[in-house]
Subunit: 119 residues, 2 copies
DNA sequence: TTATATACATAAGAAACTTGGGTATAAATT
DNA sequence: AATTTATACCCAAGTTTCTTATGTATATAA
């Protein structure tokens, strides 16, 4: 690829791990590039996961035992599929409720009128 | 104070500046310690802004020209009051919509069922 | 044949935290 | 009387998590 030079996308900081884990909970197995594309399509191009952020994050989650990998050849190209371990499955719920509760608090700070939506 | 040894509180990452600016939009002027207490009470003790995060953030916002300060003596103790500059007032809206839109995208990634709430 | 898309990876630097100090006054506990 | 807690500011070292910039390789589109 070309180097994206994105400027629209900045703040993720801490939520990337949760995003990865959640997508893998819904999808059984995914490879790195697929994750970037999924996020892009879910946000209509607004959030772009850079490779420099994604791959280290995947490696870290694997090192922590939350993900396992299996490598597969597809059209002479190597794909590295990731899926949740048992520990990983537990972590998804933990990370999700942590993040959702944080977002809730954030709304209460930033918008005094805010009431929890359809979540 | 004692050193908090909190473990409940971790992820803020990038939203602190927005929190500061928004609180100052609502309050005309506040001092640092007051901001930590306000956040604590708005979140029922769940989010604690550490001093090590807050003061550098305030100094940075001041250096960027978004905040001005005035020092005041209260009961022999020094307080440093912060308020928004004109640039700061513009930045609040920008930072707020950036964060709200980010949270929206995050919800769409993490919860496919999610619909925008009462925001 | 050159650029774009797919697919992986690493490394340097920046940004934004945490953790642990330090200083000082006032009020509350023991 | 002495210690702790609360109020109020500050800084520095270290860590985590990004961005930005590379590098490698194959397949497809212009």
């Amino acid at each position: 690829m070309y180097r994206m030079h994105m400027s629209t996308n900045n703040l993720i900081k801490g939520s990337l791990q949760t995003i990865i884990l959640k997508l893998l909970e819904e999808n059984e197995r995914m490879y790195g590039y697929e994750i970037t594309q999924r996020v892009k399509e879910l946000t209509e191009g607004e959030i772009k996961i850079t490779e420099g952020a994604l791959y280290p994050a995947l490696h870290k989650l694997e090192a922590e035992g939350l993900l396992t990998t299996e490598i597969q050849q597809v059209d002479n190209r190597v794909r590295k599929y990731y899926s949740l371990t048992k520990d990983g499955q537990k972590e998804v719920s933990a990370k999700m409720s942590e993040l959702q509760s944080f977002v809730g608090h954030l709304q209460r700070i930033l918008d005094p009128e805010w009431k929890p939506g359809l979540a």
